[in-house]
């Protein structure tokens, strides 16, 4: 079946579930009143629960995944960093983040029209990827808020066990502002399917170029991954790196974290469809099986390399699979999603177990090796698996109304994807470097040697994670 018929059938569904429109056909540039009749409570529920799932990914999932991997004396610092980053990012998001990301402005960044959510209320709506389907704007804001919360939290793994708390919090505010919001705008901003035909240039830069990123491979993972690498290089290695053993203090916590990441990631990926329909279900299945495949393939690599598979390997593989399928989740077919999952683990393994040790950068929790590398694999892989010739979903041409399937050109798409990756690496890499540099000069990023030895839990927060 071609992509085209898929979408024709999709349109049929649409018409049937929005009967008010049945007589008149889809409405171009609908009025606010018309839009109000284009909201389905099933979609609203889906967006709200997806938002809750993505928050679950940050707290407790990511905090536990990371925290379990550090030494006992730094466990609490990781929990605290993630918890506070989520809190601060949420405030920044509703204050200026949403406006800078999702209002019309330049191709690089949005405008100030919705600063502090002005103009948003319980009746305003946000567009989806289907003509004449809308969701409450607050639901969209909540969903996107969870993305702004988790992305900076991902970064901290790269320099875990050796960062001062307050400068880190300042970094997060600044990084969101000059790195994350612009990239989110470039990749995801557009005026929506009912309005784009009349305003074809009202999009973010990368969206306009046709870059495909279903749920945030570039915006979230490559973005955070490269920032982490820059951070760990600029902050330097941990005391005792390479000499002292630093076994994970609780793989139990890491496994809980990985499991909840998997569960929550359905909100992240299938929620990014913004509608509860067959495509969301497809993204769900893809997220499921790509992850499973990556867990299995990491285990197999370890079985071959070390003679036995480890839990840490399996869950790392699962996370790599989740990262890789993220940009492709709504574009791939289950079988190509499996291939993507099988492929990503050996590549990340190479970076985590070989390249890192060779180059001797101390990326404590492999934020670069898993999120950046896995994100790049996914971003590039998306160009392949999205091809309708391979059972993929292709893309919709939204410049016509109603939208129709575009003609897929895999080579061209590959180039576009690579450009998007490169731009993200550059923007985030440079932006992060400047921020780390400035903050280091002003406040110092690294705790004293004694504080680091004692552990950040006591030295930064005056607490221990455990007092058995």
């Amino acid at each position: 079946m071609t992509k085209f018929t898929t979408w024709i059938a999709g349109a049929a569904t649409l018409l049937a579930t929005a009967p008010a429109l049945a007589q008149t056909g889809p409405i171009k540039a609908p009025s606010a009143e018309q839009m109000a009749s284009m909201v389905d409570k099933g979609d609203t529920t889906w967006m709200l629960i997806s938002s809750a799932l993505v928050l679950l990914m940050s707290i407790p999932a990511l905090a536990l995944f990371y925290g379990g991997l550090v030494r006992t004396k730094n466990m609490l610092s990781l929990l605290m960093q993630v918890f506070m980053i989520v809190s601060i990012a949420a405030l920044v998001w509703v204050s200026w983040g949403y406006s800078l990301s999702f209002t019309s402005g330049s191709p690089y960044i949005g405008g100030f029209s919705k600063l502090f959510l002005q103009g948003v209320d319980a009746t305003t709506l946000a567009a989806t990827f289907s003509n004449n389907v809308y969701i409450p704007e607050y639901a969209f804001i909540a969903f996107q808020m969870t993305f702004a919360c988790i992305t900076p939290a991902l970064i901290v793994g790269a320099f875990a066990e050796r960062i001062k708390f307050t400068p880190l919090m300042l970094f997060v505010v600044a990084w969101l502002t000059i790195v994350y919001f612009p990239i989110a705008h470039m990749v995801w901003y557009w005026s929506g399917p009912d309005f784009l035909p009349d305003t074809p240039t009202d999009t973010g830069l990368l969206w306009g170029m046709g870059a495909l990123d279903f749920a945030g491979g570039t915006v979230v993972h490559i973005n955070a991954g490269i920032a982490g690498l820059v951070g760990c290089l600029m902050i330097g290695k941990r005391i005792g790196y390479g000499r002292e053993a630093t076994p994970p203090h609780s793989l139990t916590m890491t496994m809980i974290g990985a499991s909840l990441l998997w569960v929550g990631w359905f909100g992240f990926n299938a929620g990014s469809n913004l509608e509860a329909n067959g495509l969301a279900a497809l993204a769900f299945v893809n997220t499921f099986v790509a992850t499973a495949a990556a867990a299995v393939s990491w285990a197999i690599v370890e079985q071959i390399h070390h003679g036995r598979p480890s839990l840490l390997g399996a869950v790392t593989g699962a996370v790599a699979g989740l990262v890789a399928i993220t940009p492709a989740s709504g574009f791939a077919a289950p079988m190509t999603a499996i291939l993507l999952g099988l492929a990503v683990s050996p590549i990340c393994y190479l970076f985590v177990a070989v390249v890192k040790n060779k180059l001797k950068y101390d990326d404590t929790l492999d934020v670069f090796g898993v999120h950046c590398v896995g994100g790049i694999v996914g971003a590039i892989g998306t160009a392949i698996v999205a091809d309708p010739a391979l059972g993929g979903q292709g893309f919709l041409d939204y410049t016509v109304f109603p939208a129709v399937a575009g003609t897929y050109d895999m080579a061209g798409q590959l180039v576009t994807q690579i450009k998007a990756v490169a731009l993200t690496l550059l923007w985030s890499g440079l932006g992060s470097a400047v921020l780390f540099f400035v903050l280091d000069k002003i406040f110092g990023l690294r705790p004293s040697e004694d504080a680091e030895r004692e552990g950040l839990d006591l030295s930064s927060h005056g607490e221990r994670a455990y007092n058995y």
Binding site: A245, T246, P247, P248, H306, S310, L312, G313, T316, Y349, V352, A353, V354, K356, N357, D366
Partner: protein
Amino acid sequence: MKLIIAIIKPFKLDDVREALTALGVTGMTITEVKGFGRQKGQTEIYRGAEYSTNMVPKVKVEVACDDAVADRALEAIQQAANTGSIGDGKIFMLDLGAAVRIRTGETGSVAL
């Protein structure tokens, strides 16, 4: 009086305790410890980083006893804890200067 300190394999604790009980020694104190020795610990690999700690979990048994029982206790432990393989552990014996039972204030061998 003697203080016997035995470092043994954890799964041998029950056997050792039974052996000592058989001698009439009913009190003892147990600590979880880590041992370094000939026995090499597992090499553990975490995401490609190898940790060959050769640190092995052991159990330390401390028994205070009368001089009269001490040698038999030593022997009993040695036999009960023995598996014949490396890492079975050690037994040390020290002179015990005094012993007090806190509940009663009794001292000397009656306190044990």
